[in-house]
């Protein structure tokens, strides 16, 4: 039990040395760390938002939007496809009840219509081999398309991935440092931005879907009907941003934000802030064609279903550039530019949970946490040495190394230290000592029973190890559950707790046993003070 081959002793010391060195970068101030030469590995622990200050924002997507958008897209696709030669005459197209239905005017064309439908719904089977749409024919000439659950789930999944990308791009545009953006579950996105103490601008930006559309204004609409909210066939009523005034526009989008190459905040000739947009080559060509065909007609610029302005097309716009003006503030224009540039969100996001900590409170918490940890360590060390003498010194050396090893492992895992995490450290100091208390008490006991020094030491370590193992397994069960079910700060606590349990087995048992065995071999004690 107390036999330690020389290579093992060396391996243990080497392991500890490496761990302690790896813990060092996390303890250095950021400035010193930056000055280190590049080849020095610097695993560092991230500070949680409760320590660094910053914002935690949990966004939830309205996934029901995905179904609606998909249905609308399918409706447009069907309409386009049926118009294409050989043309199939259809009518009475509707998206009521979450299903797309339309009638084929000529019974003889039902098979042709089915062929076309199969081609746009991916032959009935998507990439995964699962059908995304169910196609049904009722009353011989009416087609009904229903989204399958599998198809919808896939679409939601894609939309969430896209939304996460868009959120990341938008936050990057704000120039905040080291934001974390993670998709969570089926319909949520977690955003963590350290150092941000007023997240209002960020939330405004993420709240924008930024769906940009250009539509022709329906000039034939009866103004009185528009005021009542009645639109002519093929048109819809939208409202102006700000004033809420209604306006009738054609349903068909002539060009959308998908074809944007860039968007920048700028100023018009009157010095008013506006947003300059540049289309990509496809969009530019299309914009040129549409404006050429509609000279002297007004078109509406629509963002998120609100009309920003409805200028007149005075001449064909050929350069693929346009500008959106409409009583913006500089911030408002800038925000819209960022939102447009980063692409539209495929789903609406709302903030369902938010927590913002000021950097001052974070600093206070770090200071308090460190002070409490140091005092706790000093108190525990003094207590242990007073109680167990030499063995107390061994135990506390183990505890100090244990803390450094936890820091090193957290640095390598790039883990996050939260305020509850600091509490976890303090608690680990307390519980890591428990292993040594168990061992030392057992040695005392065996000595009292009259066993020899060597026998007592061996038995002490052997019997206590079993107890320590069992106690640690149960303790780890609680920690694992916290890690799996907990959120945010609690996870930080669980990480420290679990690491502490794992590393304390090594430091409190193996390492102290090695120290004890070295001392015994050298001094051959006939009596021990414990």
């Amino acid at each position: 039990m107390l036999d330690f081959p020389r290579w093992k002793v060396r391996a243990i010391w080497l392991g500890i040395l490496v761990m302690v060195l790896l813990a060092v970068p996390s303890l250095l101030p950021e400035r010193t760390r930056a000055q280190l030469p590049g080849w020095v590995p610097t695993p560092t622990i991230n500070l949680g938002l409760d320590l660094a200050g910053g914002s935690y924002i949990l966004l939830e997507a309205k996934t029901s939007d995905v179904a609606t958008t998909r249905l609308e897209q399918m409706r447009e696709q069907v309409a386009t496809e049926m118009r294409r030669a050989p043309r199939v005459q259809i009518g009475d197209i509707s998206t009521r009840g979450g299903r797309l239905s339309f009638m084929v005017r000529n019974v003889a064309q039902v098979d042709a219509a089915r062929e076309k439908l199969l081609s746009i719904t991916g032959g009935g089977a998507g990439l995964t081999g699962q059908r995304e749409w169910d196609i049904e024919v009722v009353d011989q000439t009416r087609f009904v398309l229903t989204q399958t659950d599998a198809g919808l789930t896939q679409a939601v999944d894609r939309a969430m991935d896209d939304a996460t990308d868009v959120v990341r791009r938008r936050i990057d545009e704000l120039g905040t440092r080291e934001p974390t953006i993670i998709r969570q579950g089926s319909n949520r996105i977690v955003v963590q931005v350290p150092g941000l103490d007023d997240p209002k601008a960020l939330k405004d930006l993420l709240g924008k879907t930024a769906r940009l559309e250009f539509k022709l204004v329906d000039t034939t609409a009866d103004p009185a009907a528009v005021l009542r909210g009645d639109a002519p066939v093929g048109s819809q009523i939208l409202r102006y941003q700000g004033t809420g005034q209604p306006i009738a526009v054609k349903r068909n989008t002539i060009i959308s934000g998908d074809q944007l190459a860039d968007a920048r905040q700028s100023y018009d000739q009157n010095g008013q802030p506006n947003v300059d947009i540049t289309f990509d080559s496809v969009g530019g060509r299309r914009f040129a064609t549409v404006t050429r065909e509609n000279v002297n007609k007004p078109f509406a610029i629509i963002v998120d279903n609100q009309v920003i302005s409805a200028p007149n097309i005075n001449e064909p716009i050929l350069g693929g550039r346009a500008s959106i003006a409409g009583g913006f503030t500089v911030d408002g224009a800038n925000q819209l530019a960022i939102a447009l540039r980063s692409g539209k969100l495929p789903v609406d996001l709302t903030v369902v949970q938010e927590s913002t900590v000021s950097p001052e409170l974070g600093d206070d918490s770090i200071r308090a946490g460190i002070l409490a940890s140091v005092i706790a360590a000093v108190a525990v060390i003094a207590f242990m040495i007073l109680t167990y003498g030499r063995f107390g010194i061994y135990a506390t050396t183990a505890v100090v190394i244990n803390v450094l090893v936890i820091l090193a492992v957290m640095g390598m895992l790039n883990a996050t230290l939260t305020l509850p995490g600091i509490a976890g450290f303090v608690l680990t100091i307390g519980t890591a000592v428990d292993a040594n208390v168990l061992i030392n008490e057992r040695i005392r006991e065996e000595r009292r029973r009259g066993r020899s020094v060597i026998q007592s030491l061996e038995l002490g370590y052997k019997e206590a190890s079993r107890t320590i193992f069992e106690a640690n397994v149960t303790h780890a069960i609680a920690g694992l559950i916290m890690l799996l079910l907990g959120s945010g700060p609690i996870r930080g606590f669980a990480v420290v707790l679990l690491l502490g349990i794992a590393t304390s087995v090594f430091t409190a048992v193996t390492f102290t046993r090695m120290l004890v065995s070295g001392w015994v071999r050298k001094n051959r004690p006939t009596e021990i003070h414990i």
């Binding site: 900590v357 308090a368 208390v437």
Partner: protein, 318 residues
């Protein structure tokens, strides 16, 4: 150097003898704790009921009633105010948020309070704020309850497999007792009960089980060693043998927690208070709930406990 010895050698305290009285007191206390939870309720933080929590730091110690009336004037709902223990200049303000509130409603509340307080109390600043929607808070409650139940069940099953079913049952009962007592403590003091407290409860479970395992392990060892000894005597022996360790460990952890309570800042205050209570209750329940319950559950001396081979101690000391 003379070493400190907190517990004298070879104690022989007859813990088990007063177990019936202890059971009665424990049962009464537990019922009282549960009663308190139902009667007074827990002072749930925004994590669990949803709403807005704002922590505002003032330049001087603010008069609570003036702050309250200032917030009331804003028409953002009924505010719950609380002075933060260590930092008298800080106040936590909690405000409700309707379940069907439109997106951005929480922001509006936060902005209103921020502006309103800054106008009335120059120099007042935000330390932090949290908004939680009703939907998320429901999930947090569900996850919290689930975590605690899973932890208790997982640990009970583990000790049932490792030992005998009696150990599993007695451990689970003792841990449940610890959890209920902690809840009772929070109902009594009306300290805010938030996510951190759930972490504290889970840690208490972890600590408490640690403590019980050590004693259970010794009971098992002694059951093999002394096959003829009757159960109460055997449990007394085991508890006495492990007493120095129990006391030492509890003291070291309390030392660490005490320093956290005094110096750790107000954010961790609830967490640390819960932990300190839990360590005391958990140590008590190891002796008077889980160990004593083994006798009631009729664990027979001489029962073969566990399947591992006889220990060295047994061979050395027949």
């Amino acid at each position: 150097m003379r070493l400190l010895k907190i517990v004298p050698d070879n104690t022989n305290i007859q813990f088990v003898r007063i177990r019936h009285i202890a059971f009665a007191i424990t049962a009464l206390l537990t019922i009282a704790a549960v009663g308190l939870v139902f009667a007074r309720g827990l002072n749930f933080g925004v994590d669990f009921v949803g709403g807005v929590a704002i922590e505002e730091k003032f330049v001087t110690v603010p008069p609570l009633d003036q702050v309250r009336s200032a917030v009331d004037e804003l028409g953002v709902g009924e505010a719950a105010l609380q002075q933060l223990g260590s930092d008298a200049n800080s106040i936590s303000i909690r405000l409700p948020l309707a379940d069907d509130a439109p997106p951005g409603a929480a922001d509006a509340v936060v902005e209103k309070v921020k502006a309103g307080l800054a106008a009335k109390f120059p120099g007042a600043t935000f330390s932090n704020y949290t908004t939680v929607s009703g939907k998320v808070s429901d999930e947090l409650i569900r996850n919290g309850v689930l975590a605690v139940l899973l932890a208790v069940a997982g640990i009970a099953v583990f000790s049932w497999f490792r030992y005998e079913w009696q150990f599993g049952v007695s451990t689970a009962v003792a841990i449940l007792h610890d959890v209920l007592m902690t809840l009772g403590f929070f109902a009594l003091t009306q300290m805010p009960f938030d996510l951190n407290i759930v972490a504290a409860v889970l840690t208490i479970i972890g600590y408490s089980i640690n403590d019980k395992m050590v004693i259970d392990d010794r009971i098992r060892e002694n059951m093999r060693k002394f096959r003829k000894m009757d159960m109460p005597q055997l449990i007394d022996l085991s508890v006495n043998e492990t007493l120095p360790r129990t006391v030492m460990t509890s003291l070291t952890i309390l030392l660490a927690l005490g320093s956290l309570l005094i110096f750790g800042g107000h954010v961790l205050r609830g967490f640390t208070s819960a932990m300190i209570l839990g360590v005391i209750v958990g140590t008590y329940s190891s002796i008077y709930v889980s160990s004593s319950l083994l006798i009631t559950l009729n664990l027979k001396a001489g029962t073969k406990v566990g399947s591992s081979e006889p220990t060295t101690a047994e061979r050395a000391n027949p």
